[in-house]
């Protein structure tokens, strides 16, 4: 039995903290808010809860399908929950990294990155199409097959999401080095949301930044190159429905235009920006061009 749903419990705190950050930013100038952007992010957050509830049966069905093949039967204990939390955070890292490198998963995850702002409301800008990003289910399978109870997996996943809320802010600078070394912090996650070439495809961690340090995807925030937020091709809409669908519409139109199985697979599974003739930008091609232009590496501002 799950002790409680961390996200539901934390929702009132989310509301209070977003309002507190708005007031803090208004009176200190540390950070940026934009009413239309915030309205869109909050609506996306509410919509994701509704859509998530409607399509929860897909996750439950998948979990029940593979649960009989679990290697062990781990019971509820706080020690098991702690181990599950750490393993789930590794699961989050792998899923998150794949969500930036596989177009099928990016079509959904792109929504979370679609704001040019970085504040606590951005944390709530959550996608609506998780039920379409089916490969994402595979990342949860190892935890189920190890034998952790489904309620425990849901519980630690909720805790992970709650942790990630507060790191979406420009109002907090940096923590002492020992914290920045181990934990995901606002500084590390600003890098993750940045479109600056030096920051692309970095800092995928959920709670523990050690995963990025271990797997070579860690990039430090630098004062000389302040993060600019959003996605490489910024979206031009504050309409939540357009935001939620734009990644899927873009992917769908490419899949329809694919001329053979190779192109179809490339559009679906290659990194975002992949095209058969290489005419579009991927994060790799942008970083390669950036590396060729020394002037671009030291912005004047």
């Amino acid at each position: 039995m799950m002790p409680f749903d961390p996200v539901t419990m934390a929702t009132p705190a989310f509301v209070v903290l977003v309002i507190a950050e708005m007031l803090f930013v208004r009176f200190t100038g540390r950070g940026r808010f934009e009413a239309k952007d915030t309205a869109a992010s909050l609506a996306m957050g509410l919509g994701s809860v509704v859509v998530g509830a409607l399509f929860a049966f897909i996750f439950i069905g998948f979990a029940r399908l593979i649960q009989p093949y679990a290697l062990f039967h781990i019971g509820w204990s706080w020690g098991a929950a702690a181990a599950c939390f750490v393993l789930d955070d590794l699961r989050y890292y792998l899923w998150h990294r794949a969500s930036h490198r596989v177009r099928w998963l990016w079509a959904d995850h792109v929504n979370h990155h679609s704001s040019q702002h970085y504040n606590l409301s951005t944390a709530l800008r959550q996608p609506w199409g998780g039920f379409l990003a089916l490969p994402g289910l595979l990342f949860i399978a190892p935890l189920i097959l190890l034998g952790f109870p489904l309620t425990m997996i849901a519980f630690v996943h909720g805790l992970n999401l709650v942790y990630q809320f507060w790191i979406h802010t420009e109002s907090i600078g940096r923590f002492p080095r020992w914290i920045e070394a181990a934990m995901n912090t606002p500084s590390h996650h600003r890098v993750h949301h940045a479109t600056n070439a030096r920051y692309l495809d970095a800092n995928y961690a959920g709670v523990f930044i050690v995963w990025d340090r271990m797997f070579g995807t860690f990039v430090e925030e630098t004062q000389e190159d302040a993060p600019r937020y959003g996605i490489v091709g910024q979206i031009a809409s504050f309409n939540p429905l357009r935001i939620a669908l734009h990644g899927w519409v873009s992917l769908g139109s490419d899949l329809i235009r694919a001329r053979n199985a190779r192109e179809f697979a490339g559009y679906l599974l290659a990194p975002p920006g992949w095209s058969p003739d290489g005419s579009r930008d991927t994060s790799d091609s942008i970083k390669a061009r950036w590396a060729d232009f020394p002037a671009a590496q030291t912005p004047a501002e």
Binding site: L23, F33, A35, D37, L42, I243, L245
Partner: protein, 129 residues
């Protein structure tokens, strides 16, 4: 079910109230276009701003990359700039000093700019790669 519907309505009310507070604190209107050439130069390695044509309402602009001759459309969305490189598949039409772009873009379908030299830009765009 009624309880869930009520919860949803309360949540919608909360979202509206928070968006309203944000509008009171930070405003609701789109800002005027900042230096869009500088924005592009930050985002595109090797970009050198060339000719720039600002629309009459200061909410959109055309910017040439002096490095390769490519033309970019920049529009304001809230307080931020959104840019698109204009390619051959962009449908551009002109009525007097008004240029209309119909893009194959789910979040930026149609944009209109009022430019004194609209005819010249139309000619360039229809001939550009």
């Amino acid at each position: 079910m009624n309880g869930q519907l009520l919860q949803l309505l309360i949540s919608l009310g909360e979202v509206a109230a928070m968006a309203g507070l944000c509008a009171v604190l930070f405003g609701w209107r789109d800002a005027a276009m900042p230096d869009a050439g500088a924005c592009l130069a930050r985002d595109i390695p090797g970009f050198r701003p060339g000719r720039i044509a600002m629309s009459g309402d200061a909410k959109s602009a055309l910017i040439e990359n002096a490095s390769d001759g490519a033309i970019y459309l920049a529009v304001m969305r809230g307080g931020d700039v959104v840019t698109r490189r204009l390619s051959r598949d962009v449908r551009v039409s002109r009525e007097g000093e008004r240029l209309t772009f119909d893009l194959r873009d789910f979040t930026l379908k149609r944009t209109q700019l009022d430019l004194a030299d609209a005819a010249e830009w139309e000619t360039r765009l229809k001939g550009s790669a």
